[in-house]
Assembly symmetry: D4
Homo-oligomer: 208 residues x 8
């Protein structure tokens, strides 16, 4: 069997799509613990900023029960294209969204959202069908329960999406610590409590 | 590796097959909690009605220990073809069933049933072999335990079935909220307690 | 060690307190699956009606993020005392609430609510301190996670509360099936899918 | 704090009460895996026979959805008092049952049944109230889920019941292997696959 | 992507390979509960007998710590080829074993054993390499833990093995209940407690 | 049985003891997910500040592998007594610590730390022995695994400690939302993602 | 309610009883992972040596399926009283064992063994009945599954046993790191991989 | 679908790559219990030695928070190439590492490391891209949690890596017990407590 060839994420060719992280929809997410999920989404947002990746925000019906976009994401990406979809469930069915994606000129799409089997899977499958390389950030995407998540992952995987987590995305984009030790270290310290502890212990000893 | 291309569910090309949701067999289902499972099956039934999808009911040995079809399904689809199989374990081995499927003229089959590795997997595999596109509703199908379920999912997936859940099916069929906000909202409110709560909170505030 | 003597629930001496089952607060509940939790709360509500137990509803800040009382509870108990607390976190700190409890003349309090360690535990502990017999309905109460729940249960248990579930409450109140086979059977059929299946199978065979 | 003094099970002072192990009710049991639960119930039944403990069988509404007593229990205790209760939910509310218990002359009651929080807990609490020593066989009792089970255990424990499992009951009754090595070994081999394997390995080597 | 075509198990073309179900090795199995595992292995053995499938037994170092073959398997298949391998870890490296397999003339191999990633996976992979169709009975195979099991399943799946469980195997071989209702029913009653309960309930009512 | 009377936390009579939340020791904590644990500890720290509770910090061997105190705690309580114990494992064996506790004049001690069965349990048990009322914050304390945690909780509970979580502590101290709606709301918004979402949704609608 | 007063373990008043850690019986232990359990038992053994606690070994039927005592325990305590019981299941029923316990002159008994509900619980309950203070080392004791373990813990707890783990025992006996930093550190490094890692990291930096 | 052909591990064609098992990074590993993980890593190290496989060690930033290589690995492979990478996150980006791999002349690479989705997955994917056969030792690799691990496994699997565990690797390399019964037995006894127990029981009986 020919397998998926290794396509590395490239910070000059990747864009981030944050789909429907809205305050109402977030109450539906039960396949991941809320503190951890919040951290993962913000970590993905922070790495998008850190690596200067074009980032797109999109939402569905903010004025209804789905609620507004999480304010932290708005604040972190004030100049990002922001597509409030008038009704399309699959963001890829919205022309403004697709044009914004194509306007980035990037061929690697890093996607996360709520809920996984719809807001993430639908545009991921559509993007693959149009020739994009799709990287799903599994731990920054959430849904009703583990059974649902597992079905969603399998469907995307079968279509050729690569499943990753925010930490792997950051490491694959960075390539080499020497590109910026402090920057990457700060990103990790802000979002991995165990890593922050290691850094604090280390700093205490080396300062002696 | 060439991957599964994205085939979208189309409400004009899809049919729903509900296989062996019988009161006796349901006592065998232990890979999903009973309240949740009942809800999922009824949600799938409701979406079939809502999207006017041709729906088929089939059972195995209702007069024996397997028990009668769950009455709610009968009541919801009074005019659906109802094939009480005289003995075939794989519903696809029953000519009446296959003819009823083909009579719908649909090429996309949405299948759920009890138990997953037999009543769902066998007709799913047979239908794929005859060229149908098969979408298994994993959360409206149940079986003995998670080990069994996992084996069944993998076998169907390897054969080309797409694994989905009822919520994803509904969203993919609906395409755009504007097609009917109230209808889809009602479907969700009736089957997703968290979503109903969001709607209630929202209505209370907007009514002020 | 002298142990807790067996105090049986008595339908002529029991009242039901439903505390803060509000649509916003329900999004905090993650120690029990939403479909099951909704079912359990409605089952408790139904048994209160069935056994004609005095029932009290109370809420906290409905106009704020906590959201309104779940509409089904309002609808089920239209004439129940309804105490919208202006600020007291412990319902027992609200004089209207305590007076309404005392006005029932009942000494056995069946309590459920959201969240367990606060809205249930605080009035439960206060009521015990005033000499009431307290029965906590554990499966109609919910909170953030299992760790929190466990701490709350232990604190109430140490203070003398009896931990029960809605099914046990119903059975202990009913005492003897002969008091009303159909009524209790209906309650069970409406809230226990497995029991409904048993009844359907049984009815199908005995009707033959 | 004065604690529960150690009261040992005594084969000349103990009786076994098997409450409502009926084929319908068993479909409600989901806090323990079916193969294991069946094994545990039969192990308890076998030890009752082995230690010649007076054993009582009781059921609730066998002709209805609850179904008949598991046939193996009937067959194993053909001469045991068999009280088919006409309606009492708490077996202790049935005079025939209580008289049968008292007729054994035993003060230590080993109780198991379905479901734990009702069919086991109610007679256990009643028996304690009348001065019996109660030993609940937790692994031969079953109920809807772990949350329910946990509440039931805590309520019985608080009232002074001792929680044991069938293996502990057998060992405490037997006291000394020398009383009958083969008999106890056979009981274990029939109900503990790992122990049977140890015996087979051992026999193979010592036979060489 | 071309997917695995549906190859149905055929009772005239299938053989069963039971690999290293030895009393010592069984103490290593911790990914499945012992009562359930014992039941599954015996169910597979029983179905092999019921469907008159050629069955092979093989073991590794019975005189050493691995221990003897489980006696029930020996007793159930007294005339089956029994290959006590002198040292080969992969049964397929043993010529007698391969010859015995080929002597059956069957092309579909149903394999189960202990431990999954070695005693099952190695001959499964070798048999596939030689053109056999391999069906792994996942619930009659066991190993150290779930992590190990999952790796083993994925490796076999990637090589083209079909993952099934004993119940699915029985149903796929039987095809139609009318071929022998009583025989298949007995097989299920002996190995599925819930199904036995359904049958008992049903028999009680239809006998009335 | 006489039970533990309800002793309410009183903000004028309570002090907070934070024991050994050190960067090295935190790597031992595996009974609670790191993101959640970090959040809980900081929430407890924040509520101590918010309610102006006397707070004590203590550590063990900061210069060794245990590592320094988590910097956030130092920063949050710059004027708190800080007892770096020279070797005593039980903080209560350190006179400076006990004097600092007594100097607060408070009789209610809210304790959390790492690891639960040692750094929390030992001073908790000692404080109870000296007549303090002890409230253990279970979700701001961590240890090796759930088995260990459970043993620790049971030992403290048997000695009379009350098990609570940070949210319950905050609510019991606050008593009434009207004392400061915004302050308590901010505390919750900062440490309960679901609550923050509710507030954001609510604010968005009420601002319309 | 008067609670259990805090009785500290005292190295001059404590003895360790290791009950039936035999190679055959260990195959029955499934409530704790084997690598962890082995580590915990050896850690308890090592701390007994380190604190020079009188240690007793006892076994049941070593020549039968239960198998010999784990060799490491024999080797670690070559001069310990070793009571191979001829048949008593409760070690406390063996006079030699009780005399050996009393000969130590210790009143605090630290007990661990296999299986928890029998080999640990029976002598623990008997020792309490004779006035000893009993400390059960829960993580160096094992049994069939978590349900069984939980029942056993509750029974011992109700009788007044204190539940601890090996790490808590070591810390409570040691009292102050200054008594021997290196000795205690070595014990921890040998049995807590995370702690060893902390020490290695620390040593690497301080050696620079 | 053409599947992955069975490529057996061959001790004359395999090399072992141990990537970033550093004392700091190990504190990040939470998808596997520490005692078990330590055992698995050392088992892999021991089998590399036993089968005389070329072994490479590599680390990232040992002087920083990541910490030094676990000393046991250094000690076990004193002459192994040891590449302390100056900054490359993907070891395959380091020329010295790749040259050392190629210098072994082996085409089968057995890889394990910390953390799975980065330190293992990146070089695994790169090596596959260069034509190596890659075998990932899943149980000697660790990461943040099961969600992350699962994503990493799926990505490597899709690229053609074979997922194995150390036990399977050892068995596939050894081929036949007769090649060295004692050597392989010792490896198992040192790293599988259950197997050691079997050997001890067996030795005790055969020595009689």
């Amino acid at each position: 069997m020919s397998h998926t060839p290794y396509t590395r994420l490239d910070k000059d060719n990747a864009a981030v799509l944050l789909v429907d992280h809205q305050t109402g929809l977030l109450s539906l997410v039960r396949d991941i613990e809320p503190d951890k999920f919040k951290n993962n989404v913000l970590a993905l947002s922070d790495l998008a900023t850190y690596f200067k990746l074009p980032t797109l925000l999109t939402t569905s019906f903010e004025s209804g029960p789905n609620g507004p976009l999480v304010p932290e994401l708005k604040a972190a990406h004030p100049n990002a294209p922001y597509i409030a979809r008038p009704g399309q469930i699959n963001a890829w069915d919205n022309d403004d969204f697709v044009q914004a994606v194509k306007a980035t000129g990037r061929k690697q799409l890093i996607i996360a959202g709520v809920v996984t089997e719809v807001c993430v899977a639908f545009p991921a499958l559509s993007a693959i069908a149009e020739g994009f390389e799709v990287f799903v950030v599994t731990d920054a995407s959430g849904t009703f329960n583990e059974l649902t998540r597992d079905s969603a992952w399998r469907r995307m995987e079968a279509a050729g999406a690569q499943l990753m987590t925010w930490f792997g995305v950051a490491c694959e984009l960075h390539r080499d610590w020497r590109n910026d030790v402090e920057g990457l270290g700060t990103l990790f310290a802000n979002h991995i409590p165990d890593y922050r502890n290691l850094m604090t212990s280390h700093a205490a000893l080396t300062a002696q």
